[in-house]
């Protein structure tokens, strides 16, 4: 049951803590400084910015850039668990549900690894236990022999039914793509339903989730267009946003780029998103479009959190910003490792 009895004081407390935590995140100037550093300097700098504990903990199992990447992921997972611990009532309920996307990612990695016959140790390296399923539970799933047993072990969890229905097809075709898409559609569907169920703060949560769904659908439309896919795409789109999957299907069949952008703009409500779409009329690499849309989404979420200072928004904005801090640090280290130019790496940072 969702706890809704706690008073506004706890909301003020947790939202203020989120704001404080957000202010401690790495600022833009620091990223720009890191871009001009060598790899060992960046690693040392990361160690000095709150990731030291994880780096020390994992130093015996990993080394080099892999150590930095795993330490960043572990730190993210721990931070998310700490946030959950201090979040009260409906906020906790929404946060828990929102973090379930990490569970989907972890479960799918385990299923795929099991199907391919990958050793449990190697699958474990790819786990990021930032969701509701903790490390011990994931270890139990990893210990199972087959994908069927993994699904069986998830009995009673929200994703179990979808997994049980989709597993035979996945095992037959050797592809978990449809199952993965169904799980994420179910995830967003549940988020929207929770938001509309009358829980306090649901309206703001719904606004937030709709924006995320819209941005995700638009990004995926661009991806599908870049791959020249015109066939049935309704199953690949997430319902619950400004567009229905049917509308997105129609938009996807529009070959003319200007017309395509016009159709998207017609239904999008957020002005920054509209102006960003306007800027996409010229053909650009798909990865640049995705980064641009992510920046707009974060910016919009930030605005929402300012409009609703004591709501779920400050928490989600912090969760997203923390995630992007980890992604940015990882991008800088991996980019430097691959000898990518600083300007190119900067293009992928969401600051």
């Amino acid at each position: 049951m969702v706890e809704t009895k706690r008073g506004p004081a706890s909301y003020h407390y947790v939202c203020t803590r989120m704001r404080v935590r957000k202010s401690l995140l790495i600022p833009k100037e620091e990223y720009l400084r890191m871009l001009n550093m060598s790899l060992p300097e960046i690693t040392r700098s990361i160690g000095e910015t709150g990731y030291k504990k994880e780096i020390d903990e994992l130093a015996t199992s990993f080394s080099g850039i892999d150590l930095v990447e795993v330490a960043l992921s572990w730190n993210l997972a721990k931070e998310y668990q700490r946030i959950l611990a201090i979040t009260p009532g409906a906020l906790r309920h929404f946060t828990e549900n929102y973090l379930r996307s990490w569970d989907i990612q972890n479960v799918l990695t385990i299923l795929r690894g099991k199907m391919q016959g990958v050793a449990a140790g190697r699958i474990k390296e790819l786990m990021i236990p930032a969701g509701m399923k903790d490390r011990a539970f994931l270890d139990r799933l990893l210990a199972e022999e087959t994908p069927e047993r993994v699904v069986e072990a998830l009995k009673g969890r929200r994703i179990h039914q979808t997994l049980e229905e989709g597993l035979p097809e996945a095992m037959e075709t050797g592809s978990f793509a449809n199952l993965e898409n169904r799980l994420y559609v179910q995830f967003y569907d549940e988020l929207v339903r929770d938001a509309m169920s009358g829980i306090k703060g649901g309206r703001i949560f719904l606004e937030y989730i709709r924006l995320e769904i819209d941005v995700k659908n638009i990004k995926n439309l661009f991806r599908l267009r870049a791959s020249g896919i015109e066939e049935e795409i309704r199953d690949l789109m997430i319902p619950g946003g400004s567009f229905t999957p049917r509308e997105l299907q129609v938009i996807n069949t529009t070959r003319d780029r200007d017309e395509f952008i016009d159709l998207l703009k017609k239904r999008v409500h957020s002005p920054p998103l509209k102006s960003a779409l306007e800027g996409l009329r010229k053909k650009r690499p798909i990865r640049e479009i995705v980064v641009e849309l992510t920046r707009i989404q974060l910016d919009q979420m930030e605005r929402m959190s300012k409009r609703h200072p004591f709501s779920i928004c400050p928490i989600f904005v912090y969760l997203e910003k923390k995630k992007h801090e980890v992604l940015n640090l990882r991008a800088i280290t991996r980019g430097k490792e691959s000898h990518l130019p600083a300007e190119q790496i900067q293009g992928y940072l969401v600051m």
């Binding site: 850039i65 892999d66 990447e69 795993v70 992921s73 989907i104 990612q105 799918l108 990695t109 795929r112 690894g113 199907m115 391919q116 990958v118 390296e125 790819l126 990021i128 050797g174 592809s175 978990f176 793509a177 449809n178 199952l179 993965e180 898409n181 799980l183 994420y184 559609v185 995700k216 990004k219 995926n220 661009f222 991806r223 599908l224 870049a226 791959s227 020249g228 896919i229 066939e231 690949l236 997430i238 798909i286 990865r287 479009i289 995705v290 992604l327 990882r330 991008a331 991996r334 980019g335 490792e337 691959s338 000898h339 990518l340 790496i345 992928y348």
Partner: protein, 215 residues
């Protein structure tokens, strides 16, 4: 073939003459084959150079894309996406004939896949994974094409080498030796004929001398 082993007979001479004729005919045919193979080799060499260049470009692009994917998605994200791929590309091998040289004809399937058939879901991944997967699919396709061309090149080269050896053997060993043997037999036969003539003359002289003394 040592000359002392040769029987200086007429039948042997006829046989050697036949062998010389056959060797010369074989030599001309093999020389034509060698020239034809060399022409064909240069044609395939051009294709091989192009495919090598293309392969290098595609490898560089694929390396760049995987570096980008590692940068954006991290090694964890890339490895997790790589778990999605279970199918291995299928390769169909056939033979074709270039001037008597059997070279492979390789046809691949299931290398290039559309975004929705790659095995990973659209909703749990990002576009850099698409680009990395696409560039590696392109690379594998080019490697298969290059394998066909370079195997043909290698087989043609082997065939040219063996044909060249045969032509040289005929030109510098078989035909000269046979010609020498033929000349030797001819010389021996002439000598034997002269000896026979001399012997007959000698007998005739002796017979005439005997007849003169008896009369």
């Amino acid at each position: 073939m040592a000359l002392r082993d040769i029987k200086p007979t007429r039948s042997e001479l006829i046989s050697i003459k036949r062998k010389i004729k056959l060797s010369e005919r074989g030599y001309n045919i093999l020389k034509m084959k060698r020239d034809g193979l060399i022409l064909e080799f240069f044609k395939v060499l051009e294709q091989a150079k192009d495919s090598r260049g293309e392969m290098l470009n595609k490898y560089q692009k694929a390396a760049e894309m995987i570096a980008l994917a590692n940068t954006v998605e991290g090694k964890i994200g890339v490895k997790a996406a790589a778990f999605s791929v279970k199918e291995t590309p299928e390769i169909e091998l056939r033979n074709k004939n270039i001037m008597g040289v059997v070279v492979p004809e390789i046809k691949s399937s299931q290398v290039k896949k559309s975004l929705v058939n790659r095995g990973y879901g659209l909703l749990g991944t990002s576009s850099v994974i698409d680009e990395a997967a696409e560039s590696f699919e392109d690379l594998v396709d080019t490697i298969i094409e290059a394998a066909e061309i370079e195997t043909a090149l290698k087989r043609l080269l082997d065939e040219i080498e063996s044909t060249k050896r045969r032509v040289n053997a005929l030109e510098f060993k078989v035909i000269p030796e046979l010609t020498e043997a033929g000349a030797f037999i001819k010389m021996r036969l002439d000598e034997m004929e002269r000896e026979e003539l001399f012997r007959l003359k000698k007998i005739k002289a002796r017979t005439s001398a005997k007849a003169r003394t008896s009369t």
